[in-house]
Symmetry: C2
Subunit: 358 residues, 2 copies
């Protein structure tokens, strides 16, 4: 174990998880943080309780859960390199990333905060470009940036621009949406192909010379998630966007937190031909590559078809697929049935293959 921060501590994999447990949870521990979901839930005090006991004017049709308002709260720093790549840029990423973390809590975005750390010497025209992109993405997601901050550091002490976005959202369901809520028999859905964001960033870095037509999938997923919730209701039990560490990390975390086994079919997981080509060329596993516009869902089998149809009817979910299910067979493990019919256990990636992808 190193006594210094390594690049791998910034990955979504095992080193990162150890850092979170050993440093942050050890010091900041509280019931909300300890859940380690992508978004925390804010508990408001009694005076904000809507539809509480004895309130005749409460929300009609809402269950007992409506007695306390539920807000989701999430933050992410963005340090992607380079700042622009096919299909996206740091501004779009900063807005979409935070909207998507809210979406994993079934929360409609209410407001965003944006904090900029800017390297001295950044052309103002660049900053205009990235803030234009943030504004456009925020409009697309239907949310305002209502507060912010700017710091400038001396030349060389940042890589152009780092953006931290924080979001507050309104949870639109009454039931719990989390890995712990997932049940045996739940169907795993994936909203589209994996690996596109990482491949696009690699392409922009010039890490391969061949011509590859690959674009980042970076997009705000609230409207897609809302459609899935409308179709699935309480059967939608788990939502997670597959960012750092990729699909593999989401599945490993789901298995661990749910105490269930995850069984997935390799052939069912969409990977576009250019991403497949990049992975074969550079030796990457597309299942561990970061995405910025893909949602993984666990849905009760009775509503899985409706939810899949709703995803496919949405412009951001046309390639959505049923990729597997939750089982009791091999608790806390993820088993991939390969195209050859063999079974492979998926482990969380340890270090960082692709630093600064988000």
């Amino acid at each position: 174990m190193s006594d210094r921060i390594l690049i791998g501590h910034g990955s979504g994999g095992r080193l990162y998880r150890d850092l979170v447990h050993d440093i942050f949870l050890a010091r900041f521990s509280n019931p909300e943080l300890d859940r380690l979901e992508d978004a925390a839930e804010l508990r408001l005090s009694g005076r904000f309780a809507a539809g509480g006991e004895g309130r005749p004017g409460g929300d009609p049709g809402a269950g007992a859960g409506s007695s306390r308002p539920r807000l989701a709260f999430t933050t992410d720093s963005h340090v992607v390199r380079p700042l622009r790549y096919p299909g996206g840029d740091i501004g779009r990423l900063a807005v979409a990333g935070t909207v998507n973390d809210l979406a994993t809590a079934a929360a409609r975005p209410l407001a965003l905060a944006a904090a900029f750390i800017i390297e001295e010497g950044l052309p103002l025209a660049e900053l205009e470009w990235f803030t234009d992109s943030m504004a456009a993405t925020a409009r697309e997601a239907g949310v305002d940036i209502v507060t912010g901050d700017t710091k400038v550091v001396e030349r060389g002490l940042a890589d152009g621009l780092y953006i931290t976005t924080t979001g507050v959202g309104e949870v639109v369901v009454e039931h719990e949406v989390s890995a712990r809520a997932a049940r045996c028999g739940d169907v795993l859905l994936l909203s589209g192909s994996v690996g596109d964001h990482s491949a696009a960033v690699l392409a922009a870095r010039g890490e391969f010379s061949l011509q590859v037509d690959v674009r980042s999938d970076c997009a705000p997923l609230w409207s897609l998630t809302e459609a899935a919730l409308a179709a699935g209701g309480e059967a939608v039990r788990f939502l997670r966007d597959a960012t750092r560490g990729g699909l593999t990390t989401v599945l490993c975390e789901l298995a661990e937190s749910s105490d269930l086994g995850v069984a997935v079919e390799e052939e069912a997981i969409p990977v576009t031909p250019p991403v497949r080509a990049v992975c074969e060329l550079l030796g990457y596993d597309p299942l561990t590559l970061a995405n910025e516009g893909k949602m993984v869902l666990a849905v009760g089998p009775e509503r899985a078809d409706e939810v899949l149809a709703a995803l496919r009817a949405h412009p951001l979910g046309r390639q959505a697929a049923r990729i597997g299910e939750l089982v009791t067979d091999h608790p806390r493990r993820v088993a991939l049935r390969t195209a050859f019919g063999t079974r492979r256990v998926l482990d969380m990636p340890v270090g960082e293959l692709l630093p600064r992808i988000c």
Copy 2:
């Protein structure tokens, strides 16, 4: 006008303000952001309204304003150099800075988010030290860190550690607290001496060789603010912590937003002997130096004595003073009556005398 980001764009002064207007407001404009307060107010949807019309069980004694819950929302990146200085460190600063921005909206802190950008190679023991400090300061402020994020950048692309903290708070008053709410005749109170934080950071940088016993004032001010609100009620019309740009910038912004004149007495503004010595030695104006534990209040004259007494009764407000008042004489300008009885107009500092002070 430079076409690149300058260090001065990170100050609290005029260059910073121009950047905020020309880049951020021009693109992100919305009613909440346009207010340019330190904390935005979150408007929740109807289903979260507490004590609404026709609700018999509503908060007794609360006015019509109680029909909508009010939450404050604020974010700040922290890039202070060095990471430790007498009386504080980046961890304490990151928590106190955000708690204090919530306090300016009369908001009790409900929850914090913390996002870390760490330079590869930072000793884990350092990170443990700063997170210990964050945890201790959060306990002092009575708030939990409920969500977070960590990114790692390559060696040289950060200065050890940058921390962005975002807070959500619950506004505890019904009336508006803002520069626009201030009225002619309101008394200006300051919770203690100015310049201590900047002087302590300068001392830690080794920018002067003489021995000066100066410590940062960095502290979470919610309990102090709560005491002032309890004593002053609706007479407390404006709250602002005097950070980047110092007391001068707070007063200039107050004059501009209120359309009133600000008249202050130089001799009434507490400056400790060591800070005065540092300023004389290095040619700084203590009124433009950043503080991290000082609140400026505008209070109706009928309650000013009570509020001042409440501040002085609090451990963080023992040196609190009445420093001036709001007048109609010279609208939108700040006039300082000097110790010699002459009058000097205070202008917002233009560039950045002391970069990376917070």
